[in-house]
Symmetry: C2
Subunit: 434 residues, 2 copies
C-alpha cells in the first residue's frame, strides 16, 4: 500500500523521542495548582497550550489558524494544495487532576510528524493539517468533544448556552471569557470535500496493550456516552433531633441510586456497558445535619447505541422509584450524549499495514473512552492509533505511557499518513453510527 | 417550692419579647455569606457574637469575663456573693448554613432574665452567672460542646491539637487564631463547689412540642453521640476505559456504607438509635473519572451509652467488610464521643413547678441533640427547658421558633432560677452518666 518513493523516504524521517518528551513536559507545566494536570476546556490555561502548539508549528513554517470553536489548525501545503487534505491531531485540555498524556500525546505525535516531514526532503502530495481540538474532555461541562463536534457541525450556538459547569458557568460564557465568539460556532464546521482522511494517536486508557505486550492498538470502534445530571431534594434537619422514620435523607437516596448504576452495568444484559457516578455533592455537608440535597452525575458508556440510551431511561426510572419511596424530590437532565462509532476498515487497514511494515506488534481493539475521532468520522474517514497506558490508569495524575511507545506510535502515524497521501482518497466517508 | 417573697415579685419581672427578638436579629446578622446563619466555632464571627453578648451584659452592670476556652461569663452578684452561684446560658456558634435560634435562643433568654432582674427591685440571694459557651456545635471539628466540656474538665491541651476541621485546621490553631491560648485550657474548668445549679433554655429541634400543642418541654435525658470519620481509598481511573470488573470505586463502597448506617439504625435492636452520614466528599469529583477517594462522617446518637458505642464498632466492622470485598482501603477514627446523660429530678421538678405556676402546658421529653447542659451536669445539677421548633426543623436556614414561645420559656427560666435561688442547693450533684 505504501508507494515506492515514500517507502524509500521512510528511513530518512525518523521521529525523535526526545522532542516528544520535551513537548509533553512543556504542556504539563501549564496546569492549575494541585496533583497532576488540571487544564480545563475553555480555560486560560487551555488557550496557553493552544498558543504554544501554534507557535511551535509556525516556527516550522506551517500556516496556523484558530477557528471559532477554539480549535487550532496548522497546515503544511502539499504539492496539490487545492485538493482535499489529510489530518492528524488530538486535544490539549485535561480533566481535573488528570495526567499529562491524554490528548497531549496525540498532539505531540502530530507535532513530531510535522517536524519530521518539514525537515526531510520529502513533500506530501496533499496538504496535511495538524489539529489541536478544543475542550474534548466532558469533565467540565458534561458534553465531551466540543471542538470536534463543532467541526462535525453538531454544535449550535444555542447548545453552548445550555451546558454549564459545576459553578453554573455556561460553555458560551466560558468561550467568551477566553475571547471566542459562541455566536460564530457554525463557522468552525468542516466540509467533507476538504478532507481525505484523519488519523488520531491517543493513549489507550486501558490495559489491553500492556497486558498483551503489544506496541500498537488499531481502533475499530469507539464507545458512545450518555450523561445525566441528577438533583435529589430531601429535607435537611438535625441529626440528633430527627427520628429515623421522619427523615427524607437525600444522601441515603443517592446511595441507592449509585448502587443501582453499578447493578445495571453488571447484570447479564449489559455486558460491555459501563456506568459511573463520578461527581457527587452533598448539601449542606455538615456532620450534624441530615443531607437535604445531593447532586450527582452519571456517565453511561456503551458500544451499543440503543442499549446506551435505554440504560439511561431505565436508571432514570429507578431513581424516580427510589426517590418516591423516600419522599425525596428528583430532577434529572441529559447533559451529554454521543453515539458509539465504528471506524472505516480502509483506515484500519492502513494503520495495520504501517505497523506491520515496521515489524511492530499490533492488535485491533475498541475504545471505551470517547475521542475527537468519533466526531471527525462523520466528516471524513477516520482512524485511531492507540499506544500503551501503564497500568491502564487515566484521568489521574499517575496516568503514564513510555515516551518510546509514543515515538513508535508517532512513527506508525507518519507512515500511515504517507501511505494515505500516496494512495489517494480511500473512498467515500465510510463511517457509520450505530 | 417558690418562696413567698419571690412569688409576689414575679409579676413585676415580666420578660420582654421585643427585646429577645431584637437580640436574636442582632446575632443573626453576624454570619458568613450564604443561606441561613454560618458562625462556626472559634471563628472571628463567633468571637464578635461573644463580644456583643459581653457588651450587653456590661451595659446592665454585670461583671463580664472570658475564660481560656472562649466561654463568656457575666455575673450578677447576689446578696451572698461568696456562696455558690446559679447559672444559665447556651451557645452562640452555629452549624454551616444553620438557623438563628439553636443556642442563641438560650443566650437571649438568659440575657432577658438578667435584664428583668437588674431592672426589678428584687435581688437574688446567690450570685447568678449568665454564660455564652464557645463552640458547642460539632459540625466544624466533629467534637461537640468544646466550651462546656472544658468547663467540665473534659478537655486537655493535647485533645485540642488532634481534632481538625475539614480544611485540616486543628482546634488549637483555630483557638490561637482568635486570640485564645489552648495551652491554658485547663484554667477554664469549673469547680462544683462554686455552683448551685444550672438551667439552659434551648429550642426543641424536634416535633414533639409543636405536635402536642405544648409550650414548655422539660428535658429528662440528653442523647449521647459517637462520631466517626471514614476514608475510603479506591482507584481513580477513566470511566470509559475501565471495565466494571476492574474497578475499585470508592463511591460505590461508600454508598454501601451509607445504607448500612441507615439499616442498623432501623433494625429491631436499635429503636431510638439515630445514625447519619452528614458529610461525604468525593475525589477527584469529575464526571469522567471513577471516584478514587471518599471521606465521610458518621454521627451515632443514642440514649443507651453501651449501644451507642457498640453501634460504632458494628458499623466500623461492616465498613471493613464492604471495603475488603471491593479491594478498597479504609481508615477510620473516632472524632467525637459524648455519653448520654439523665438530668437530676430535682431540677426537672423545679421547671415543672414553674411552668405549672404560670398555667403553661408542659411535658417531659428527652433531647435527641447534644447540649452544653450534658457537660455541665457533670459539675452541678443541671436542667433544660425546651421551647417549640416550628416543623421540627433545625440546623437549616428554615429553623424557626415563635418569639412569644421563647418569651414564655424565658419566663419559666426566670421563675425556675428564682425558685432555686430561694430554695438553696438541691443537694449534691445528682446527674449520672449512662
Amino acid at each position: 500500500m505504501i508507494p515506492a518513493d515514500s517507502a524509500v523516504a521512510l528511513p530518512h524521517m525518523p521521529v525523535d523521542v526526545a522532542r516528544i518528551e520535551r513537548w509533553i513536559g512543556e504542556f504539563a507545566a501549564l496546569t492549575e495548582e494541585g496533583p497532576g494536570v488540571t487544564r480545563l476546556g475553555y480555560s486560560a490555561l487551555e488557550r496557553e497550550a493552544h498558543a504554544l502548539f501554534g507557535a511551535e508549528m509556525s516556527a516550522l513554517g506551517l500556516t496556523v489558524r484558530g477557528d471559532t470553536a477554539g480549535n487550532t489548525i496548522a497546515e503544511l501545503s502539499g504539492l496539490e494544495p487545492d485538493g482535499p487534505a489529510l489530518g492528524t491531531g488530538s486535544h490539549l485540555d485535561s480533566v481535573p487532576q488528570g495526567g499529562r498524556f491524554d490528548g497531549i500525546a496525540g498532539v505531540c505525535a502530530a507535532m513530531e510528524v510535522a517536524r519530521a516531514v518539514v525537515q526531510s526532503e520529502w513533500r506530501p502530495r496533499h496538504s496535511w493539517r495538524f489539529v489541536a481540538f478544543a475542550t474534548e474532555e466532558g469533565a467540565r461541562f458534561g458534553q465531551a468533544c466540543n471542538g470536534s463536534r463543532a467541526a462535525a457541525g453538531l454544535v449550535s450556538t444555542g447548545d453552548l448556552a445550555v451546558v454549564k459547569d459545576s459553578h453554573g458557568v455556561s460553555m458560551s460564557a466560558a468561550m467568551a471569557a477566553v475571547g471566542l465568539d459562541p455566536a460564530r460556532i457554525a463557522e468552525s464546521r468542516w466540509r467533507s470535500e476538504d478532507w481525505l482522511a484523519f488519523v488520531e494517536l491517543h493513549i489507550e486508557q486501558g490495559t489491553v496493550l500492556e497486558a498483551s505486550g503489544t506496541s500498537i492498538g488499531v481502533v475499530d470502534a469507539i464507545s458512545g456516552s450518555t450523561r445525566l445530571l441528577v438533583h435529589l431534594d430531601g429535607v435537611a434537619s438535625h441529626t440528633g433531633g430527627t427520628p429515623m422514620h421522619q427523615r427524607r435523607d437525600a444522601l441515603a437516596a443517592a446511595s441507592e441510586c449509585v448502587l443501582a448504576c453499578e447493578r445495571i452495568a453488571n447484570d447479564a444484559t449489559h455486558h460491555g456497558t459501563r456506568v459511573t457516578v463520578g461527581r457527587l455533592e452533598v448539601q449542606p455537608g455538615s456532620i450534624t445535619t441530615i443531607p437535604g440535597e445531593v447532586s450527582f452525575t452519571i456517565d453511561i458508556r456503551d458500544f451499543d447505541s440503543e442499549r446506551q440510551r435505554r440504560t439511561a431511561h431505565l436508571l432514570d426510572a429507578q431513581f424516580r422509584q427510589i426517590s418516591a419511596a423516600r419522599g425525596v424530590g428528583i430532577r434529572s437532565s441529559v447533559i451529554g450524549d454521543t453515539s458509539p462509532v465504528f471506524l472505516p476498515v480502509e483506515i484500519v487497514d492502513s494503520i495495520v499495514s504501517a505497523a506491520r511494515e515496521r515489524g511492530l506488534t499490533y492488535r485491533l481493539l475498541s475504545s471505551g473512552a470517547s475521542h475527537d475521532s468519533q466526531q471527525i468520522s462523520r466528516v471524513t474517514p477516520t482512524g485511531m492509533i492507540f499506544v500503551p497506558s501503564i497500568r491502564g490508569l487515566s484521568h489521574v495524575p499517575e496516568e503514564n505511557t513510555a515516551f518510546d511507545d509514543i515515538a513508535l506510535g508517532a512513527q506508525v502515524l507518519l507512515d500511515t499518513l504517507i501511505a494515505l497521501d500516496g494512495s489517494g482518497a480511500p473512498g467515500p466517508a465510510a463511517a457509520w453510527t450505530a
